[in-house]
């Protein structure tokens, strides 16, 4: 069965820049980074995500409360990058 190969068995760990490597259960997902083109409504609603590089915003709710920008491979569950510098001015609805 071909699906088998894609099932990641790795532990999903997130390296919080403040707290160190922690179990994903301590973190809470909020949003996938939108396309930064288009009108406010398009930016709010539309996604053009690469399944192998999904850029997301998570909060370390079970730890330091820091917001993080994670780059994840959705097909394997692997966390590729973690950054405490979030992409700014997403303007999720703040301008026309």
């Amino acid at each position: 069965m071909s699906d088998g190969a894609k099932r990641g068995g790795r532990r999903m760990l997130i390296r919080c820049p403040f707290c160190g490597e922690r179990d994903a259960a301590e973190f809470q997902f909020r949003a996938t980074l939108p396309d930064l083109q288009g009108t406010a409504a398009e930016r709010l609603y539309l996604r053009r995500s690469d399944p192998h590089r999904s850029i997301e915003h998570w909060q370390h709710v079970g730890g330091c409360q820091l917001w993080l920008e994670l780059t994840r491979d959705l097909t394997s569950g692997a966390v590729l990058e973690v950054s405490a510098e979030l992409t700014r001015d997403l303007a999720r609805g703040a301008e026309h």
Binding site: G4, R7, G9, R10, A41, H57, Q59, L86, D89, G93
Partner: protein, 985 residues
């Protein structure tokens, strides 16, 4: 009581500790160390239950967790627990078990008549009939025939518990490879945990006639155990790993020797996992191979060596490899007479054959076992020559089958390993290769990796242990210990045989638990199901509690044959987690009636109880609905308490309000971006209404915003919305257009909040805080001051959610109760008493104030008549999307007040609003409805289409659920004191 099939010596049972138990009401005696299966076999019991579909008599097939057949119900204090494999039920004194799927009794089963309809009952049977006139006519009786045992009557008495463990290396399985891996890793200094599902370590070494470096199998196991102990490795027996997950490994540990009541759930976080789960013997399909007395050869050996139990007296062995012969000799030593060994292969050149023949065993090479004879149990075997078809019938009471071994690789596959077909085994293995090896997280060792011979398994285990240490310790070196001389069973020289193509295919069982036969598989293929996962769904092959551990691969191979493809191409169906059925309570890990989440209590909780509060959950908080003595039920009490607030005064616990502090050089600028109404214009010492918008423009929450200092604000959020508001604020700090110097903190739990409202509130407050009387008297509406109560911080805010003159007192949580008591004591003479949520709702509906009943996440600030606040705001989060056309359509509902045309007519929140001319079309709904003691009529708030929202318009409160349709008049949302004179007085 004698146990005729128990040998006088041998076994690892405690002969000095007899235990009485019952099966189907009959008393037996077993020994400590027995399972229910071994104890019953010792008494010659062969019939354990009936099959679910055809109700055929069934016995025990295996000796472990893979058992598909012998499922029983164990009686416990909390009723019966069904579907326990008798092979896993460790005998306990007084144990009582019942057979399943029979009525009225196991031997005389009337439902067996169903089996006679078996000709009809092929794969996919239910999909093709019972359609006329409809399925619901047939469903109830069919449901009653399906299912294995009964659900327990009550919740379990004992509860599960949960433990989190971490280690460098987790070894799954304590057979030869697992022990070798664990010993190597532990010796190199790694922190090692070994999980073994059996109560004893050693796996096959417990009974194989192995010699390792001069030690017998059990001696070597003992030595390994001592080595592990010395290296502080943890060997957890009776612990089965039930799943490999993204974040951890889940294992279930059962208390030794007891029915599964005190399960402990282990969540293990290892750096490296070694899967050494061994291999399971598999059967061969032949006619009537489901008869009690047909058993796996290895299981028979295990019953003999571990429990000193003979599964029969005269056996015919049927298999396709060289290990049949040494096994036969060992069974002979245990007192089982071997009448014949049936082997389709040409006669192998093994010394043991001659010895067996000398003892009178017939060696029938080039033969197959065609059919098991007997009705309720095996009485003989029909054996045919492959070439000539000539058949003989031999009498026997036991048929031992061995079709080879299937490596147990499901955990390795769950962890990402890829299966590879090993033709020499006729099975799939999960070797360490590719991605998983590179990641280093999962290794397989021993039989699971295809190393069936003992010497190889030990070597492979030791190597896996060394590699695991290297990975766990980032390249640290560990050496695999070399193992000296090893003698074990010979290489099998297996020639795969899956089914005997003679006799009726409808009687050749592949999946014993679900009664799936060779005929079903043939039919599924004929009906176009060409892949094993499809066949599995269509026929139910391998979907039982045993997940097809014994028969699954056999089924796949037979499907491959019918498709004209190789087994390698067809593949093995995937076992999904859990690897073994787990009690829900063990997973839940909390006592059942409470198994949700802890509830929160306010600092005033005990004080409210003392005042007779009726507490109810509201969100995760416990809050006072109303107070005893106010009325017979919540509604009456609420009206009475509300009336009292307006006539004299009331006290309310508002501690659950979210209290979020926002501070920093950019606090005001930030709040201007997230709150309607330019918070930066609030003066220190003042407060103002604040509403927040979600990114899509809908109202997220509202509350009051207090400016504590030039760079310091306090936002009170609703009880329900507090967590979302905090996350919303923090997120927009992190992602706003530029980095701001501002931070948010949740101070909810630090304060107890009580509201004193009503005409008497000012006088009461001045009485309780006499030194502040002047300042209180001068405090303006929406102004606050910072004071102390008993040397602890006290914030006094004049604000109202009732429309009355009112004060919010924010007091340090540890002194909040004392302030409440002081207010209570002083308030009694003034007629000021506590009120609850019910009265709060009456008061705020009278005033048209909003709660989560209106702020539903579906309402915009325009819908809620907050347009002036929007207009006075700058670039607030969510504002851009407010201009979307749909949000301004005339059919979109907006907030209105509603009153019954006949003042005494009650109507319900949740009633739909409709025009009297088109009563079937919804124009909105009633969000909150109360009886207003002030106005003496039923009033409400609602959301109603803009084109109908003009005050004076007539609408219907359509409540078909209640069977009512009540005429209403639309009003302004504020029903009472629209000018706000009372609260500003």
């Amino acid at each position: 009581m004698s146990a005729p099939f128990r040998n006088p010596i041998g076994g690892r049972i405690e002969r000095s500790t007899p235990m009485e138990f019952q099966f189907d009401g009959r008393r037996y005696e077993g020994l400590a160390g027995d399972t229910l299966a071994s104890a019953l076999l010792a008494h010659g019991v062969r019939l354990f239950g009936r099959s679910v579909k055809f109700r055929r008599p069934r016995g025990v097939l295996s000796c472990g967790a893979e058992e598909p057949n012998a499922l029983v119900t164990l009686d416990t204090g909390s009723g019966g627990i069904s579907n326990i494999p008798a092979t896993l039920a460790h005998l306990a004194p007084g144990m009582a078990a019942r057979s399943q799927n029979r009525w009225p009794s196991l031997r005389f089963d009337l439902t067996a008549a169903l089996g006679a309809g078996g000709a009809l009952y092929g794969a996919g049977f239910y999909y093709k009939t019972f359609m006329w006139p409809s399925w619901r006519w047939y469903e109830p009786p069919i449901r009653h025939l399906a299912g294995l045992g009964q659900a327990p009557e009550r919740a379990r008495a004992a509860t599960g518990s949960e433990r989190h463990l971490a280690c460098d290396v987790l070894v799954i399985g304590a057979g030869p490879a697992g022990l070798a891996a664990a010993a190597t890793a532990a010796a190199a200094g790694a922190d090692v945990i070994v999980c073994e599902q059996d109560l004893l370590p050693g796996g096959e070494l417990q009974f194989e006639s192995a010699r390792i470096e001069g030690l017998t199998g059990p001696q070597w196991v003992e030595r390994s155990r001592a080595l592990l102990e010395a290296a502080r490795a943890r060997l957890l027996c009776g612990t089965s790993v039930i799943g490999m997950y993204e974040e951890r490994v889940l294992a279930l540990r059962q208390a030794e020797g007891r029915a599964r009541l005190d399960d402990e759930l282990l969540l293990v976080s290892p750096r490296v996992r070694i899967v050494a789960t061994g291999a399971l013997e598999r059967p061969i399909a032949f006619a009537d191979n489901d008869k009690p007395g047909v058993m796996l050869l290895g299981a028979i050996e295990r019953y003999a060596s571990r429990y000193a139990v003979r599964a029969g007296n005269e056996a015919v062995i049927f298999g396709n490899h060289d290990r049949l012969y040494p096994a036969a000799l060992r069974l002979r030593e245990q007192g089982i007479r071997i009448r014949a060994i049936v082997d389709p292969r040409p006669r192998p050149a093994l010394e043991s054959l001659d010895e067996l023949e000398r003892q009178g065993t017939r060696i029938l090479s080039g033969h197959v076992l065609e059919r098991a004879l007997g009705r309720m149990r095996v009485r003989g075997a029909r054996i045919g020559a492959i070439g000539t078809g000539e058949a003989v019938e031999l009498s026997c009471d036991l048929i031992a089958v061995s079709g080879g071994w299937t490596p147990s690789i499901e955990l390795a596959l769950q962890a990402g390993a890829k299966p590879r077909y090993a033709s020499e085994l006729g099975a799939f293995v999960a070797p360490d290769e590719g991605e998983t090896l590179a990641a280093g997280a999962v290794l397989t060792a021993g039989s699971a990796a295809g190393h069936l011979e003992l010497s190889q398994a030990l070597l492979d285990g030791a190597q896996a242990g060394a590699r695991a240490v290297e990975t766990a310790r980032n390249g640290a070196n560990a050496r695999a210990a070399t193992v000296g001389s090893i003698g074990g069973d010979p290489a099998p020289h297996l020639q795969p045989l899956w089914r005997v193509p003679r006799g009726r295919e409808k009687r050749q069982f592949v999946d014993l638990q679900n009664d799936v036969t060779v005929a079903d598989l043939r039919q599924a293929v004929a009906e176009g199901f060409r892949e094993i996962e499809h066949v599995k769904r269509y026929t139910t092959l391998g979907v039982g509690t045993d997940q097809g551990r014994t028969g699954g691969l056999v089924g796949a191979a037979i499907v491959a044959e019918f498709l004209g493809e190789t087994l390698a191409a067809v593949g093995q169906s995937r076992a999904r987690p859990p690897a073994r059925p787990v009690p829900l309570a063990a997973l839940a890990g909390l006592p059942a009636p409470l198994a949700v989440k802890p509830l929160r209590r306010t600092p005033l909780h005990d004080a409210l109880l003392a005042d007779g509060a009726l507490m109810e959950p509201s969100g995760l908080w416990l809050r006072a609905r109303h107070f005893a003595g106010s009325g017979v039920d919540a509604a009456v009490a609420g009206v009475e308490e509300a009336r009292r607030v307006r006539s004299a005064g009331g006290l309310f616990d508002a501690s659950t309000l979210g209290k979020i502090e926002v501070s920093g050089a950019d606090a005001a600028a930030f709040l201007d971006r997230v709150c309607l109404g330019r918070p930066s214009r609030i003066a220190v010492g003042r407060a103002r209404y604040a509403a927040l918008l979600r990114e899509d423009g809908m109202v997220l929450d509202d509350g009051l915003l207090l400016r504590l200092a030039p760079l310091h604000f306090l936002l009170t959020a609703s009880t329900h919305g507090a967590a979302a508001v905090l996350a919303h604020l923090q997120y927009h700090i992190a992602t706003g257009p530029k980095a701001l110097e501002v931070c948010c903190a949740d101070a909810t739990e630090a304060w107890g909040v009580m509201v004193v409202s009503g005409p008497e509130s000012r006088g009461l407050l001045c009485e309780v805080l006499p030194t502040l009387a002047g300042e209180i008297a001068d405090l303006a509406h929406l102004a606050w001051m910072e004071k102390e109560w008993r040397a602890r911080p006290l914030r006094i805010l004049r604000a109202s959610f009732s429309g009355e003159l009112a004060y919010e007192l924010h007091c340090a949580a540890d002194e909040a109760a004392s302030l409440w008591q002081a207010l209570r004591a002083a308030g009694t003479d003034r007629g000021v008493r506590p009120y609850g949520l019910e009265a709060l709702d009456v008061l705020r509906v009278e005033k048209g104030y909003l709660t989560s009943a209106e702020i539903t996440g579906q309402t915009s600030p325009y819908d809620l008549r907050l347009e002036p606040w929007v207009r006075s705001s700058g670039e607030v989060v969510g504002r851009a999307l407010l201009e979307r056309p749909a949000l301004h359509e005339p059919s979109r509902p907006m907030l209105v007040g509603l009153v019954a045309v006949e003042p005494a007519r009650r109507f319900n929140a949740g009633a739909q609003l409709a025009s009297p001319s088109v009563p079937g079309e919804s124009l909105g709904y009633v969000t909150s409805a109360v009886f207003s003691p002030t106005l003496g009529r039923h009033i409400a708030l609602g959301l109603l289409a803009r084109h109908h929202a003009l005050p004076g318009t007539r609408v219907l409160a359509a409540d078909p659920l209640a069977g009512t349709e009540i005429p209403l008049l639309v009003t302004e949302p504020v029903h009472f004191d629209a000018a706000g004179e009372r609260m500003k007085s």
